[in-house]
């Protein structure tokens, strides 16, 4: 028996002695995500874009260029715009086939646009701009009145109103082109039935565990360096961090790690190759103008002056962020560099409050935090609360689970909160209209911005065809909203960082700093 015990003990120790080695086959790229995707179908999601980006193509793509992004032709080889800015004529690329061999035609494009409207779930905004979109969505019409198919490779699209950002919108992941002929009920759910023209095919999706993409032999473009992409679902940034350092991942998305760890683990290591791109968007503070205190513009201005954004940038983000002063973020074409925001001045903030007749501790409201907020956001909440306390405002942080938080915010009842907005496409309307474009939009963000005239102007600005005039109008509106109304407090745009493993040569992030990226743009060693 003694021997048996000894044997068992030795057996138990044995595996510790053998070193663990994980070898990766050539052409394989391993990465990890925090959450599994819920679907591969853009009509059902506004978040899960990794598969749409890689398995499907769009008419255009937005690619990062020198300094800013540019819109490049993808499935389209030529286009023209009518003088009134309403009608776009397109020529499709010749000889493109889907991964199941079916040919790409103009009717596939029409089908893909109409599909979004008929599903009437997510991503209906862009096809709704097309003439007759509303009717298709309501079920009153079967086809888009504004979509004319001339022949297999030629078609034209007519909009309800001119929109200077339309081509940019066509490059959004939402506008992925699917095959009309072989569409089946399993589309978006079953890998084998999710067919696109893109560089990769989904071969496997084990829910909550991993999914695998492999190179599509029928792809029309150049053969990519990555032949196989394995995406593991690792719901915890800490484990991803360790896995990467152990060589179990080839790329790590550093976004959900605290910048302090990024600084101490990666930046301190001269061998670490870090790639970064601004996460085009904004970290901001919302103040609800239905709140009895926050409806006073003086209180909002005082709040804007009480928070030291530089500390957020240097302290929380360790310098991996850039100050933003307006609403339209850096990287979007209407961004205004010259905009004067509020600068940090707690004494002036205090004086402003006293002048308005508020006593120390009289103003109190709730900072509602989403329980899934990452560390950086949690710290911003705590910091905002702490900063406001110093000027005599009681802003207590209360945590809600994600669903409750969302419900409260959408019903317009949240006092104040901190959040991030990531841009979906390179057009100022994407942020201006979402927050200030209608009374409903302003309510859904718990802003409840009251100025109907400004709201009408924000909505109208989308349709200005002349770029110059449009820029002028957006910047004027932004100035009014920020400098006069202090309608929200902008903090910063953060850098989205990745670290590359030994096997990766170059990595190009998505132009808007999405976590999702084009695997075909990655070059392996």
């Amino acid at each position: 028996m003694k021997k048996i015990i000894a044997l068992l003990l030795v057996l138990a120790m044995l595996p510790c002695a053998a070193a663990f080695a994980d070898t990766a086959e050539p052409g394989l790229l391993r990465t990890a995500v925090l959450y599994d995707i819920s679907t591969m179908d853009v009509s059902e999601t506004t978040d899960d874009y990794l598969i749409p980006l890689n398995v499907f193509d769009r008419l255009f793509e937005t690619k990062p260029g020198d300094g800013s992004s540019e819109i490049v032709k993808s499935l389209v080889t030529d286009y023209s715009i009518s003088d009134d800015g309403l009608t776009y004529a397109f020529t499709l690329r010749d000889g493109v086939v889907f991964s199941n061999g079916s040919e790409l035609t103009a009717s596939d494009v029409q089908f893909s646009f109409e599909r979004l409207l008929k599903a009437a779930k997510e991503n209906t905004e862009i096809p709704l701009e097309i003439l007759g979109g509303e009717a298709v969505m309501n079920g009153e019409a079967d086809t888009l009145a504004g979509f004319q198919v001339t022949d297999d490779t030629h078609f034209s699209v007519t909009l309800t109103a001119p929109n200077a950002g339309f081509l940019a919108e066509l490059s959004a992941p939402a506008m992925s082109i699917a095959d009309a002929e072989t569409m089946s009920p399993g589309f978006g759910k079953e890998p084998a039935e999710t067919i696109g023209t893109g560089p990769y095919i989904v071969t496997e999706w084990v829910s909550n565990d991993h999914y695998t993409l492999v190179y599509n032999e029928k792809y029309w473009g150049a053969e990519p360096s990555v032949k196989k992409l394995v995406v593991k679902v690792i719901p915890d940034a800490m484990s991803q961090n360790l896995m990467f350092q152990n060589g179990e991942l080839d790329i790590i998305d550093l976004q959900s790690l605290d910048s302090a760890i990024v600084a101490s683990t990666y930046k301190a290591d001269p061998a670490a190759r870090i790639v970064g791109t601004p996460k085009v968007g904004m970290v901001y503070l919302i103040m609800n103008e239905n709140n009895p205190w926050l409806k006073d513009v003086r209180v909002r201005k005082a709040i804007a002056m009480a928070i030291d954004t530089d500390q957020i940038i240097q302290g929380i983000f360790m310098g991996d962020a850039m100050r933003e002063k307006g609403i339209i973020p850096t990287g979007i074409w209407a961004h205004n560099d010259a905009l004067e925001g509020f600068s940090y001045d707690p004494d002036a903030a205090k004086a402003l409050l006293r002048e308005a007749g508020y006593q120390e501790g009289e103003i109190s409201f709730e900072l509602s935090m989403d329980s899934v907020a990452n560390t950086s956001n949690q710290l911003i909440y705590a910091f905002v609360s702490d900063s406001l306390k110093k000027i005599g405002i009681e802003a207590s942080v209360v945590s809600y689970d994600h669903a409750a938080w969302l419900a409260k915010r959408s019903s317009g009842e949240t006092d104040a909160f901190v959040a991030n907005w990531g841009m979906d496409y390179n057009d100022p309307a994407n942020i201006m209209y979402t927050f200030f474009g209608s009374a409903e939009n302003a309510k859904a963000r718990s802003l409840n911005y009251p100025d109907a005239e400004i709201i009408a102007r924000v909505s109208a600005a989308r349709a200005i065809v002349d770029d110059e005039a449009r820029l002028e109008e957006y910047q004027a509106l932004e100035k009014k909203l920020i400098a006069e109304d202090a309608a929200w407090v902008p903090f910063c745009v953060t850098l989205h960082l990745w670290c590359l493993g030994e096997r990766v040569d170059t990595f190009t992030p998505h132009w808007a700093g999405f976590a999702d990226f084009y695997a075909a743009d990655v070059v392996l060693k």
């Binding site: 015990i5 138990a12 759910k189 909550n208 484990s239 152990n246 994600h402 669903a403 859904a444």
Partner: protein
């Protein structure tokens, strides 16, 4: 004996029904429409109403319950809100991982626990005894997540003997299993030690010793067999605490198991998934204790005689 087992079986069935009922009601008294949560920010009223009707969420609770039971009996546990797949399919792949993990953990806990208990009993109050017993108390007081984090750091990160995460090979299960089994090992060790010592007090042991058998020999030949009875029953019951611990270990080691699925279901307010996973977990525990009872009845001569 057969009657008592049948009785226990009926009892288990009642408990299981109670579990389903309680979770069902508990998960549905949560305020808010789960459909709105599921659809996120872009939900419009018409779609929400349509989906609510489709899933039968507008019907009275008792009818929803009957509907759930009827579907569940035929193996349909609904569709996960957050992951968009049938719950049964999600659970199936996760359960395999949890089962392997639990078996590895049990194997570790029982080998180590019984071995330590034996050593302690043989050398009662000597140094190894005190050392092991102190260690086992430490094992019981150490939160599972601390053990898991420590093991991950030392053996996966520093020594690189095992992967940080991964279920592709058996290696990936070793560290989580040790972290999970640690707690139980302490309990098994204590139990083995005390029941062995108890058995040693019995008369027949005295007789055996009088016949000239050494302490170790006595222990092996006679005491161990009798002492194993309570230990064995405890093992089956321990499956319950292993499942509790699996929630933590699967989270730390990022293993796609039932425990992690449950954590995700909660985060995503995914009622069908949460209902399915908790139903599975409790069924396993109820089955485990049923098994323990049967085992006890079969092994314990006293009960056998009564039957």
């Amino acid at each position: 004996m057969r009657r008592s087992i049948a009785q226990r079986f009926a009892q288990a069935l009642i408990v299981l029904t109670g579990v389903v009922l309680i979770t069902f009601v508990m998960l549905r008294i949560v305020p808010g429409n789960p459909i709105e949560t599921m659809m996120g920010e872009h939900a419009d009223a018409a779609t929400v109403a349509r989906m609510t009707a489709e899933l039968g969420l507008d019907q009275p609770l008792y009818r929803q319950f009957l509907r759930y039971i009827a579907a569940a009996v035929s193996g349909d546990f609904g569709t996960s809100y957050s992951l968009g797949k049938p719950v049964s399919q999600l659970i199936r792949s996760a359960f395999v991982n949890t089962l392997i993990l639990a078996l590895f953990a049990a194997l570790f806990a029982w080998t180590l626990g019984i071995a330590c208990g034996l050593v302690c009993a043989v050398g009662k109050n000597r140094l190894p005894d005190r050392l092991f017993m102190g260690f086992s108390l430490l094992g019981i007081s150490l939160p599972v997540f601390m053990a898991a984090m420590f093991l991950q750091y030392l053996f996966a990160f520093k020594l690189k003997s095992f992967p940080i995460s991964g279920t592709d090979s058996w290696r990936g299960f070793v560290l989580p299993a040790v972290a999970l089994g640690w707690n139980s090992a302490g309990q098994v060790a204590q139990m083995t030690r005390s029941s062995l010592l108890e058995a040693l007090e019995e008369d027949y042991i005295e007789t055996a010793r009088a016949k000239g058998l050494g302490r170790f020999g006595v222990l092996m030949r006679h005491a161990l067999r009798n002492a194993m009875l309570p230990v064995l029953t405890m093992m089956t019951v321990q499956f319950s605490s292993l499942l509790s611990g699996a929630v933590i270990t699967e989270t730390v080691f990022s293993i796609n198991g039932v425990g992690r699925l449950m954590v995700q279901a909660i985060a995503g307010r995914d009622i069908p998934l949460l209902q399915g996973t908790s139903l599975l977990a409790t069924s396993v525990v109820i089955l485990g204790s049923l098994l323990a009872d049967c085992l006890y009845a079969v092994l314990d001569p006293r009960i056998r005689k009564e039957g």
